[in-house]
Symmetry: D2
Subunit: 429 residues, 4 copies
C-alpha cells in the first residue's frame, strides 16, 4: 500500500476490512502506536479462529515476511570482520535479529496478549514436529519468553481452599503425576496436613505456571496410597500437621505447554523448602515420593536384550502379567527383593550419556537431592504398576548437602545415594 | 578456579570470601541455580556500596569478561554465508549475543533485582557520557529492558489521596514540569477536579514509571497559575468537576532515569483519554497546557544570528531583562503581539531535521495532537518566564483526527495547527 | 471466690483449672479485660465440645445466674412511677436488661466469637422448642444480633467462579430452593448468563448470610428445568447474556440458621435489582421464578374439606398419584386448565389472617412484587411435583410500581396481580 | 397523614417535598423498607446542613416524638410485678426502650450512616452540656454504639508509610500528646525504629478510632525530645531497630470525639504488646513515656493551700516563672531533687476518691502497669513545661505482673511502683 493509501485507509476505517496478511504487513509499517495495537488485536482475534492449516500458514507467513535485511546483515558482518569491537558485535547482533520478534512484542502489548502468545507457542511446538521449517519462528518466541518469564518476575503463592475456584480447577486439569479425582480429592490436597504452592506470572493472572504438592508427615512416607487416597487420614489432619517433622513432595506439574523448555521446577522446590522451613520450623526434613517412570520401559528392553538373569526374568514376567495380584506377595518376599534390586540398579547405573536414564531421577539428582529409599507396593494405580512396578522412591533434599551434591553430580557425574539404597542394587540375582 | 576447588569452596562457604571479580566470573560457571543466585545477590549488595570509580570498573569488567566467543561467531558467520537459512540467521544471532546479557538476567532473578538494575542503568547512562566504551554494556541492558518493560506488562493506575504515602512522595520528587510545593499542593493535584494516572510495572512495586496530571475544566484552560496555584479553585472543585467538559493535561513526568529511551508517554496519554472518556462521559475534549521549553534558547540564537527584526529584538530584550514586569503589559498590547507571533513561528516553522525544534512540540505532534492556541501570560514561574516567555500552548487531542494527524506528521512532516494558530505566525513584524 | 483468692488464682494460673460454671461467674466479676477475655475464650472452647444436655445446662446456667437485680429494678420502677421522665425511662430500661447480655458481649470480643455466637443461637433455637424456659436467653442474643447485623454493616458481593472455593462450597450446602448438583452445576450457576449475589458481614468472613441467584434471559422464563438443568444452555451463555433483557431470580436462600428472624431478604433483592440495572443497562425487567410451596398441602386439606368440585378432585388425584406421568398431558389440556385455576385461586384468595397463605407469595407480595404468570410443567423435580404440582410462578418486580404495590398490600391487604393471572382463577370448574 | 394520603404521596413523590419533622415521623410509620431508607437518607442530608439551633431542635424532636408507649410500659410493669419471670423482665425491658433507637438503627442502614451517627453523637455531647434534657437521646445512641463498636468488630492495623495518605493525615489531625509537625515528622513516626498501630471499624473505613505510637529503643527511654524531635536519630534507625530491646509507647490518642466513653485504649496497648512480642522477639520490655498532665494544676492548688514547704515553694516559683531557663540547672541539682520528689508524691499519694488524681496515671495503673522511673528535663515543649514541669514518667507493662497489678489496683487500691520511684517521694523537703 502506498503511503497516501495508508493515510486514506486509516481515515476511512478500511484498514480493518482487509485480509490478515495485509494487516500483518502493516504492523511494522504504520507508525501510530494506537492504530498498530488495534490492528494487532484484530489479527489475534482472527488467529483464535484459525484452523490447524491456517495456523501453519500464519507461522510460515511470519517466517517469510519478517526476515532480516540481508544487505544490512552483510554490511554488519563486513564491519565486524574489519573491527571486532563490542559495538560492532552489538551491531551484528541487532542486524541478525529477525523483525518477527517485534511483531511478537506488539502482540504482547494487546490486552490479553501474553496468554494468547503462550497458547500460540503451544501450537508452534505441535506443528513444528511435522513442519520443522517453522522452528525459526519458535526461536523468536522462545527468546522473548526467556526474557519475559525471568524468574524474578514470578511469584510463589500458596494454593488452598480459599483460592478462587477458577484457579483450583486448573490444578485438577494440570495435575500430571497422581490424578485428582474431583473437588473432594482436591480439597484434601490443599487442606490441613498438605501444602500446595505455585508460581504465577503477573501477565497470566489466575494461571498457575507450575505447582508442587507436599504432605506433612512424621518421618519419610513410603506410600502414595496412604498419602492421598486414604480418606481416614483426613480427620486427624490438623493434629498430624502439628506433630509432623517431614515434608514430602509427591507431585510437581507444569501447567503451560506453551512454556515448555523454560524450566522453573528446580527453583520452585527450593523456594518451597525455604518457605516451609520458616513457616513451620518443626519441619526438619524434605523429601519427595517419586515415580520411576522409565523403569517399566527399561525392563522390557533389558529383558529383550538378555540382560536379566533367569530368576529376574521370571519375576518380571509375573509382575507384568498379573497387575491384579499387586502387591505380588510371596512367602519369602522374593518378588520384592528381585524387583527392588533391579529398580535400584536402574536408577543408579543405567544412563543416557552421563546422566541417569530415568527422567525424574535426572531432575532431582541434578537439583542436588539424594536417592534415599525405595518403597515397595507404594502405588496401586494402573499407571504406577505399569511404569514403576508399583514402587516409589524417596529423593531427600538435605539443605546442608544439596549444593555439594549438585555440583558433584554436574561436574563429576556422581549419583548420590544413601548406603541402604546403594546396597539394594548389589542384591541382584 | 579449578572444578575441584569450586566444589571445595561451595562446601566450605569460601565462595563468599573472595573479591567481586571472582564471584562475577563464577556466575556463569557454576551450575547450581540456588548457589548462583546467592552469589548474584552478594555481588549486587557490594555494587550498592561501590563509588563512581568502582562502578566504572564494574562495567568495564563486564565488558571485557563476558565477550562473545570469537571463534564460535566466526563459525556462525561462515555457516550463514554458506547458507543464509532462517536457522542459520538465528544461529548467528545467538552467537553474536554477549553472555553479559545472561549476567543481567541472573541479577534480575535476585529479589529486588529489577529496581536495582534500573538504578544500575541510570549509572551506566551517566558514566558512558565520559566513557563511551561502556555503551556496549548499556546496549545489553537496554535490550533486556525493552523486553521486560513491554507495555503489555504495565498497568495504568489512578493516583489519589487514598494512594500510599510512599508512592505519593515520589510524585513530589519526580514532577518535572510544574514543581509540587509540598503535601498540601500534592493533595490538591490528586483531589476533586483533578486526575493523576501512572504506569506501574509488577517488578517495581510502589514505583511509578511515568505519570500524567490532568485538570477538569470548562473549556480550554489557558493559565497554569489558575489551574494549580490558585487556592480559591479548590473549594468548589467538586462542583466544577461535575460541570467540566474538558480534560487538560498539564504535566507528564518520567520517574525512572534508568528507563530513559524506553518510551511510554504517548500510550499513557491515549489510555488516559480512553479511561476518562468512559468514566466521565461528560468530558468531551482533551488538550494539554504545555510549556515551550526551547523557545527562549532559540530566541537568543535567532537574535545573535540577526534573524529578528529591529522591532522584535527590542521587545525580546525588554521581556528578557525585566522578568519582574511580567506580564509586560503595554497599552497597545504590542509585547504580546510580537512575542506571540515569534513563538507561533518557532513552533510551526523552526525544525531540527524534518521535525519541530521544540521537544514538547515533537512529542505531542508525533502523537497526533494539533497546535490549538497560544496563551499569553500563562505561567509566572521563573522557569516559565525564562524558557517560554511566560506563555503556554494548548495541544488538542481530538479522537477523530489524532491517527490521521499522526500519520500525516510522520510520513509527510506536516505540523497540524488550528487556523487561528497559523494566523498568529503571519503577524511577525 | 473471695477477692484475695481471685488475686491468688490469677497469679498462679489456677483460674483456668476450674469448672466452666465458676469461670462464667468470674466473667463479670473480674476487672482486667485481658484476663476476662482469656476466660471467655476458654469457656467458648469448652462449649464447642458440649453435648446437647450440657448446652441446655449452659443456657439454664446463664438464665439463672445472670438475672436482673430485682431490688434495683424495683427501685427503678418506683422512680419511674414517681416521675416518668425520659431519664427515668432510660434508667428503667437499663435496670431491666439482664447482665447476660454483657456475657454475650464478652463472648463476641473473643477472636472468632461472632461465628460461634451465631452457632450458639442455632443451638438455642433448636433447644427452646422443647425447653421454652430458655427463650429469655434467646431474647438477649436476638437483641444483640439485631444491633450487630444492622444492614448498614452488611456488604453485597457478587459470587462468581473467581470466588474462593471455601465460600462457593457453602452455596452448595445452603441452596434451599433448587439443589446444586456438585461443582459443575455450581460453576454454571455463577458463570456467564447467570448472576449470584450474597450479603456478607465483616465479622463472618467467608460466610454468606443470604444469597440470591438470577438468570439473564430474553423475556420471562417459565421453566426452571430450562434455566438450570439444561446443559445445552451453557455454550451460548455469553451470547445470550448480551441479548438478554430480563433478570429472573430463581432462588433465594438463607445461610445462617442462627440468624433466623433477622431478615435481610427483601433488601437483598432490591439492592441486586439496582446493581444489575446500573451494570447491565439492557436488562429492563426483573422477575422471579418461584415455587408455590404451600399449594400441595392446601390441596390436600381443601379436598378433605370438600372444597373441590368433583372434576377438580379427579384431576388432583391423577396428578398426585402419578408423579411419573409429569407433565400429565391430555389432549384437551384439561389437567393444566384445572390445576392452573386451582393454583391461581390458592395464591390470590387463600389467606392466613390478612396475608396470603403461601409463604413465598407473602414474601414477594410484601416486597411490592406482582403476581404475573403461572407456568405449567416448569419444575420436574420430585419436590416441585409434590409441593407445586410442577408449576412455578413469576412475580414481577416493576421498579415503578413496587413501592405503591407494597404500601397497598400492607395497608389495604391488596394482592396485586396481572389481568391474565386474575383471569386464571376465574376458570375454576 | 392518613393512609390514603401516604399511598398517594408515595406514588407522586410528594413524600420528599415536606419538612424534616414530617419525614421523621414517617420513618417508623411507613412499611416499605426501600422507601424508608430513602427518607432516612434524605433526613441525614438535611441534618448535615443544620446549624447549631436546628440540631438542638432535631434532638428535642427525637426526644419528644419517639417516647415509649406509657400505657404499654404500665402494663408491662404490672405484669412483671405479678410474676417476675425472665420472660416478663424481657417484656419490661422491651417496653421501656424508646423507639428512638429504631430511628437511629434506620439511620445506620443508610450508606455512610455510621460515620454520620458518630458525628451526630459528637454534636449531642457538645449540646447536652448546656441542654441536659437531651441526655436521654444520647443514652440511646450510646447503647447502640456499645453494641456496634464491640471490640470483636475492631481490627488492629499497623500504620506505616505505605498507608494511604487519607489515613495518615488523620494522625496529624488527631495526635493529642506530642503534636506532629507536618509530613516529615509524620514519616519519621511511622518508619524504621518506630511503630504505629490503630483500631479500625469496618463501617468507618479509613477512619482510625484510636492509635498508639511506639519507639524501639535500647533500654528505657527518658526523653521525648530524643525520641521524636532529634533528626539525627533517623539515619541509623534501621540499625538501632535491630539492636533494640524495648518498646516505648509515647503517645496514645483517641480519634473520634463521637465515641467518647466507649473506651478501647487498654486493650489496644495489650494487643500491640502481643503483636510486637511475636513479630520482634528481641523486644523484651514494654513501657510508656508519659506526661503527668495534672501535676502543674495540683502544684498551684497545693501551693495556694499551703501544702508546700518554703523550700519547695521557692523552687516551684522559679520553674513556673522561667520556662525559658529549662532545664533549670543548678550546681547542686536541687531543682531536680525538689521537683522530682513533689511529682513522685503527686503520682503516688494524691487521689481522687480511691484512684490517683492524675488521669494518665489512672489509665496505666488501672491497666496493670507499674510506675517505674521519673525523667527530669525530658520534654521541652511549652505544654510539657507547663503541665509536667518538663518531666515524663515511664510506666512499665511487665507481662508477668500486669494482671496481678491490675487486680491489686482495682480491688485494693494499690499503686504499684518500683523501689526507686517510691524512694523519690520520700525526699520531699
Amino acid at each position: 500500500m502506498a503511503l497516501q493509501d495508508i493515510l486514506k485507509s486509516v481515515s476511512s476505517g478500511a484498514l480493518w476490512r482487509r485480509n490478515w496478511q495485509d494487516m500483518c504487513r502493516d504492523l511494522l509499517r504504520l507508525k501510530d502506536e494506537a492504530t498498530v495495537l488495534k490492528l494487532a488485536a484484530h489479527v489475534l482475534r482472527l488467529y483464535r479462529h484459525f484452523d490447524e492449516d491456517e495456523r501453519l500458514e500464519f507461522f510460515r507467513f511470519l517466517l517469510e515476511n519478517f526476515r532480516v535485511d540481508a544487505d544490512a546483515l552483510k554490511a554488519a558482518i563486513a564491519q565486524y570482520q574489519l573491527d571486532p569491537s563490542p559495538a560492532n558485535v552489538q551491531h551484528l547482533n541487532r542486524a541478525s535479529q529477525p523483525p518477527r520478534r517485534q511483531v511478537f512484542e506488539l502482540f504482547n502489548m494487546v490486552p490479553g496478549g501474553t496468554p494468547l502468545l503462550v497458547d500460540m507457542r503451544s501450537d508452534l511446538l505441535r506443528l513444528r514436529r511435522e513442519h520443522p521449517d517453522i522452528s525459526a519462528v519458535d526461536e523468536d518466541l522462545t527468546a522473548l519468553f526467556r526474557a519475559w518469564f525471568n524468574r524474578g518476575f514470578l511469584t510463589l503463592e500458596q494454593i488452598n481452599w480459599d483460592t478462587p475456584a477458577a484457579v483450583l480447577e486448573k490444578l485438577i486439569e494440570y495435575e500430571a503425576v497422581h490424578e485428582i479425582q474431583g473437588w473432594d480429592d482436591l480439597q484434601r490436597r490443599v487442606s490441613s496436613g498438605r501444602r500446595c504452592y505455585a508460581f504465577f506470572h503477573p501477565a497470566l493472572p489466575g494461571e498457575p505456571i507450575i505447582f508442587v504438592q507436599a504432605a506433612l508427615t512424621s518421618g519419610l512416607a513410603g506410600s502414595i496410597d496412604q498419602l492421598i487416597r486414604d480418606e481416614s487420614t483426613r480427620a486427624d489432619a490438623g493434629e498430624s500437621e502439628a506433630s509432623a517433622d517431614t515434608a514430602i513432595f509427591y507431585s510437581i506439574s507444569n501447567c503451560q505447554h506453551g512454556l515448555t523448555g523454560i524450566a522453573f521446577g528446580d527453583l520452585l522446590i527450593k523456594q518451597v523448602v525455604d518457605l516451609i522451613s520458616s513457616e513451620l520450623p518443626h519441619i526438619k526434613a524434605f523429601a519427595t515420593l517419586s515415580p520411576i517412570p522409565g523403569f517399566g520401559g527399561w525392563l522390557t528392553k533389558a529383558q529383550a536384550a538378555g540382560e536379566l538373569s533367569a530368576a529376574e526374568a521370571t519375576v518380571v514376567e509375573t509382575v507384568r502379567n498379573n497387575p491384579d495380584q499387586f502387591p505380588w506377595q510371596t512367602d519369602d518376599g522374593s518378588t520384592e527383593t528381585v524387583m527392588s534390586a533391579l529398580c535400584a540398579h536402574y536408577l543408579l547405573h543405567e544412563k543416557r550419556g552421563d546422566a541417569p536414564l530415568d527422567p525424574v531421577a535426572r531432575f532431582h539428582l541434578r537439583n542436588g537431592a539424594r536417592l534415599e529409599r525405595l518403597n515397595w507396593a507404594a502405588d496401586s494405580s494402573a499407571k504406577g504398576k505399569q511404569q514403576s512396578a508399583g514402587m516409589l522412591v524417596n529423593y531427600v533434599y538435605d539443605q546442608k548437602s544439596v549444593t555439594r551434591n549438585h555440583e558433584s553430580y554436574v561436574y563429576e557425574g556422581n549419583v548420590i545415594s544413601s548406603n541402604a539404597f546403594a546396597q539394594l542394587a548389589r542384591k541382584r540375582q
